[in-house]
Amino acid sequence: MMTRKIHPLLIAGTVLVFMFLVGPLIIVLGAALSDTTYLTFPPQGLSLRWFENIFEIDAFRRTIFTSLQIALLSTSIALLIGIPAAYALNRYRIQLPGWLSTLFVLPVLVPELVLGFSLLKNVAVQYNSPIYISLLFGHSLLVLPYVIRVISASLAAFDFSIEEAAISLGSPPLKTFFTILLPNVRSGVIAAFILAFITSINDVSISIFLTGPGLSTLPIQLLAHMEQFFDPTVASVSVLLMILTVAVMAIVERTLGLTFLAK
């Protein structure tokens, strides 16, 4: 068998990149487990008390719930708008002007802080809308481009004559959409869901403007906590968020395989 000699510099480079990617995660995990009352690494003493602390602080309990709720609702709204939009953009690609699909991803190009601030000024303040509604609206807008982008990608591979075949066999157009089209872009829809969910739950830039008295999201609460305390609670919350993300990814990997995310 032929053995290929790997250049030592390549090994060193790989290790460096790996450290760069994984290092911060290890530090956060270590800091979260530290028994000290301040953030430190390596951890001094091992304890889960900072994890318990998250649930003892009322604000964290409430914001975790709010974050999950907002993420779930905004993702659902984005899917409800994004799936038909992506469908129309792909189905009528030839008839529609080319800039239209670009228009739908524009919110990604606007700095999120700008988006957040203008939403605050022009929606929340202007119409004096309830905080919850403004926040939900902002998050839906934030994740919509991702949903359209990902579903468009899987619709690009969809042959619309399949839809015509179903219609010619007597299936009405709306029914065809659910029985023929959706099952064939299922992986795209799931990928869009995950991407949107994670984007929403980690968002700071928009939430910081749209949260208000009595209603906050987890990352914003985290920020507020960090300003006052420098204890390992923030690290513990970060670890929880990581576990949540990894869990979601693991479920996807189990059910669909991660490769479809790269599509």
Binding site: S161, I162, E164, A165, S168, L169, G170, S171, P173, P183
Partner: protein, 353 residues
């Protein structure tokens, strides 16, 4: 035979571009009519209009006396076979074939029976549980055919169904399609750009060009008696020679091309011969001779190519650029002065353009 499908004065547009111009077409019960032409001629547009995926600007479409023009596509009850098969990727072969029956609320036992019988007919019963991705191109097209036939539609339409298959399979499949169509007596419209395919399986062929039907006729008549220069060129009459009548004598007519060639034609073969006409001949219908004593169109030989059964010559002369075939026994050299002699039996005449 009663008329099944009728298109009357159909005009259609894509935006501001007119793609069909006052097109009329009748297809008789049980007949297979092909729409033949190059891409952009309007053949697929015609099919999509009948299927209901496009709306005509004006004109009507009727099927078995029922006006389809404004009916949504899912209520038209037309079987469609697509170029890229268009099978449902997430459904098994049996479920693909049964899809149309399911829409018609046919009970699952009855459905299974009819799907089974149809899969037997196309020889795919053993693949009923497979997904389309596990099938070959030919098998996929059989499933598509079965799926369209099982709903027993009054009209079956094919959109370039064999274009994605290799040459050998194409020939097998077109025979299979024709046999199934004949056996069921299903009125059919078949869209293709392949002349041999269209001629071999159709009762009649409509040759289309720029949104119009140039000629609708049996393959035999199209091949031997094209109605105009476009169809003549399309079916392989390479040489269109302008001629004028110089003498008439009973059933015999003598005509001349530019540069000479008194040619005697019989009215019996060509029917009426106008004073000015175009003689259309294939390369095979134009004999090459270097015998200076022969009566013929004078020409100079250009490039010689080998066809296997004959040599083909590009020639030029007072009658223009012509293509003629010569015997294998005597290859002639480029530059030779020759005479081109039309063989009347292999020629046809057209009105001048």
């Amino acid at each position: 035979m009663t008329q099944a499908l009728a298109l009357q004065s159909i005009t259609a547009h894509y935006g501001a571009t007119q793609v069909l111009e006052n097109l009329s077409l009748d297809v008789a019960e049980g007949e297979l009519v092909s729409l033949l032409g190059a891409s952009g001629c309007g053949k697929t547009t015609t099919l999509r209009l009948v299927a209901g995926f496009l709306q005509p600007t004006s004109g009507t479409i009727t099927l078995g006396g029922r006006d389809l023009t404004r009916l949504p596509p899912h209520q038209r009850n037309i079987g469609l076979v697509f170029q890229n098969y268009a099978l449902f990727p997430h459904l098994s072969v049996a479920d693909n074939v049964g899809f149309g029956l399911k829409q018609r609320a046919i009970s699952s036992t009855d459905r299974a029976k009819r799907v089974g019988a149809m899969l037997d007919r196309v020889g795919l019963a053993h693949l009923a549980d497979r997904l389309p991705a596990a099938l070959s191109g030919g098998q996929k097209q059989r499933v598509a055919l079965a799926r369209a036939l099982v709903i027993e539609p009054p009209l079956l339409m094919f959109d370039e169904p064999l274009s994605n298959l290799d040459a050998k399979l194409r020939i097998d499949m077109r025979i299979e399609i024709r046999q199934l169509q004949r056996a069921n007596g299903t009125t059919s419209v078949y869209v293709t750009h392949d002349q041999e395919e269209a001629f071999s399986i159709s009762d009649r062929v409509a040759i289309m060009h720029q949104g119009r039907i140039m000629q609708l006729d049996t393959p035999e008549r199209l091949y031997q008696r094209p109605a105009n220069a476009f169809v003549a060129r399309f079916v392989g009459f390479e040489n269109l020679i302008a001629m004028s009548v110089v003498a008439r004598d009973g059933a015999k007519v003598t005509a001349e091309a530019a540069g000479g060639l008194p040619l005697t034609l019989s009215l019996e073969q060509f029917g009426e011969i106008p004073d000015r006409f175009v003689l259309a001949c294939r390369a095979d219908g134009l004999a090459v001779t270097d015998n200076a004593a022969m009566e013929g169109i004078p020409a100079t030989l250009g490039l010689r190519t080998y066809l296997g059964r004959a040599y083909q010559y590009q020639t030029s002369g007072p009658a223009g650029t012509l293509v003629a075939n010569g015997p294998l026994t005597r290859p002639l050299e480029p530059g030779a002065a020759v005479k081109l002699v039309p063989v009347p039996e292999q020629c046809t005449i057209l009105a001048p353009e």
